[in-house]
């Protein structure tokens, strides 16, 4: 695990006072490109494994879809959702999950390891924003490949529904998907910061991952407290449902849309506050 060394060699010296925002942005872009380069090299050194993981993800996606196929062989509606609407929803949920996985998942999971081994010390010393670095250190390229399979499914479902989305719908869908990804990132990052206090956090992080199952199903399936909790506390029910509804023209009022965006800001702010609080209380493992 020596790649730390290569990553820190960003040649340009940081000015004590950032001269302008543009310069700082360019610097972060340079750092990020270097991180990407590292990730590509890392992934390509295990090519067979890289392909096998894609097979695994495809298989599990197919499995979820066949569950829907089985249900709809016995009924034609789940609440007010028809078969291809749910397929589109599953595609949207899978897309969000895969893009999230590509950018953030590995990094979130590894934070507890960084803390346990004390390697976080080195990250804190680097002249870049620490949260930026630990959130985006590694890129999981397989996620992008799997996201394409989700797009194919979304496209096919649209065809079956005989829908041609307008440009506005597509832009709305893209923005809402982005919102969903940021919600997952904020929440999972929030959970990983628990590792500052206990080594058991990794279990909780994987537990959160099981919540992705909830976001895959149509909101009409949920009722009562469960629905309220996963709408207003952990907005799993909104994350994929709202963009899918925009796409299939199911959204009756803009309320849910605003709620999703509002929840995104709420999650982001809480996760940043907790992160700052945690770093201030970081005592480092004796290294």
């Amino acid at each position: 695990m020596n790649h730390q060394g290569t990553k820190t060699q960003s040649p340009d010296k940081t000015p004590l006072v950032p001269s302008c925002l543009g310069g700082s942005l360019r610097r972060y872009l340079t750092v990020y490109i270097a991180l990407w380069k590292n990730s590509v090299i890392r992934e390509m050194s295990f090519k067979t494994n890289f392909i096998l993981w894609i097979v695994v993800e495809l298989l599990w996606f197919a499995l979820q879809l066949s569950f829907i196929a089985v249900i709809y062989s016995h009924t034609d509606r789940i609440g007010d959702w028809t078969k291809w609407q749910v397929v589109l929803l599953m595609g949207a949920a899978h897309f969000i999950q895969q893009i999230f996985q590509a950018f953030f998942l590995t990094n979130c999971v590894e934070l507890s390891e960084l803390i346990r081994t004390g390697r976080l010390d080195f990250m804190l010393l680097l002249p870049v924003n620490t949260r930026f670095l630990i959130s985006l250190r590694k890129v999981d390229l397989g996620g992008f490949v799997n996201a394409t399979s989700a797009l194919v499914v979304i496209g096919y479902a649209l065809k079956q529904l005989a829908l041609v989305p307008s440009a506005l719908q597509l832009i709305g869908f893209a923005l809402l998907v982005l919102t969903g990804i940021l919600i997952h990132y904020s929440l999972m990052f929030l959970l990983t910061t628990i590792s500052f206090w206990t080594v058991r956090a990794q279990g909780i992080v994987w537990g959160y991952y099981s919540l992705f199952n909830i976001s895959r199903l149509p909101d009409a399936a949920y009722h009562g407290f469960f629905k309220a909790f996963f709408t207003f506390v952990l907005p799993m029910v909104l994350v994929a449902n709202v963009p899918a509804k925009v796409m299939v023209q199911k959204l009756r009022s803009p309320g849910e849309l605003l709620l999703l965006v509002g929840m995104m800001f709420a999650c982001a702010i809480v996760s940043e506050i907790v992160w700052r609080f945690s770093v201030r209380h970081y005592t480092s493992a004796s290294s």
Partner: protein, 266 residues
């Protein structure tokens, strides 16, 4: 035999360390279960009568019993640990000691399940209690007995299969993808996701020739009263044969693998 009891004892003590983790896992595991149950409720609400041969109560019971069987029989970290033992050369010590690695691992598996069940039983029992109006009980005590026997065989079948898969580590560096691919098949063809007899009959029939239904669906079907009479005895016999086949396959993999083994770092 005494030495294996000792292994069992050590296994239990080791697993106790993870009790909080187990509790988290069991609780988080209930959330997707609640989601699936709500989904089925909505389906039943929009439709008259049954799905396949299942009433709503039977369908909910099916998933609850799957959760129970899973708690008793699921292979948890055993396959990762076996693969790691091979990769890191830890199994060398078993080659020179009078301990059979398969039996050693089986003891650890039993210890792990015992502790996991002890911890998970609390949240799972509370959950089942909350759903009690939808929870059917087996027809009679003998059904319950056959169910219990079938669970033991399910556990053995799952263990031997995972063990054999983990032994792939003798040949390849990274076995997790293979484990996940097999798990995907177990998950859908074994009946974790939905009861297999709501599939089209030809498909359910085809699946019954594979070992997957005997890893989960079969014991649950005994419990909810879908396997009775001749089908029950025939099923139990088939399950037993699959257990034996998996055991022999695991032995075979070990015999071949050990010839390839070069004790890296050992």
């Amino acid at each position: 035999m005494k030495k294996y009891l000792h292994v069992l004892n050590i296994g239990i003590q080791n697993q106790l360390v993870y009790r909080v983790n187990f509790l988290f896992r069991a609780c988080f595991g209930l959330l997707p279960l609640i989601a699936t149950i709500s989904l089925w409720r909505t389906v039943y609400a929009g439709k008259e009568g049954q799905i396949g041969s299942y009433t709503l109560a039977q369908m909910i019971s099916y998933y609850l019993v799957v959760t129970l069987v899973d708690m008793f029989t699921a292979v948890n970290e055993d396959d990762w640990q076996i693969a790691a033992d091979i990769r890191e050369g830890n199994i060398s010590q078993f080659l020179v000691k009078p301990i059979d690695y398969l039996r050693y691992r089986l003891c650890l598996f039993v210890a792990g399940r015992a502790i996991y069940t002890a911890v998970a039983l609390v949240p799972v029992a509370i959950f089942i209690f909350l759903q009690r109006e939808y929870f059917v009980t087996p027809a009679d005590w003998s059904t319950f007995g056959w169910f219990a026997l079938s669970i033991v065989m399910t556990a053995l079948l799952q263990f031997f299969t995972s063990y054999a898969m983990a032994l792939l580590a003798f040949w390849v560096l990274e076995v997790s993808t293979f484990i996940f691919i097999l798990f995907a098949f177990e998950y859908i063809a074994g009946g974790h996701l939905f009861p297999l007899d709501i599939l089209p009959p030809w498909l359910a029939q085809a699946l019954s020739y594979t070992p997957f239904p005997y890893q989960m669906y079969f014991p649950v079907s005994i419990y909810v009263g879908k396997s009775t009479g001749a089908a029950l005895y025939q099923g139990l016999l088939t399950q037993f044969l699959w257990v034996m086949a998996a055991f022999l396959f695991a032995k075979f993999m070990w015999a071949r693998g050990i010839r390839k083994y070069s004790a890296v770092g050992g």
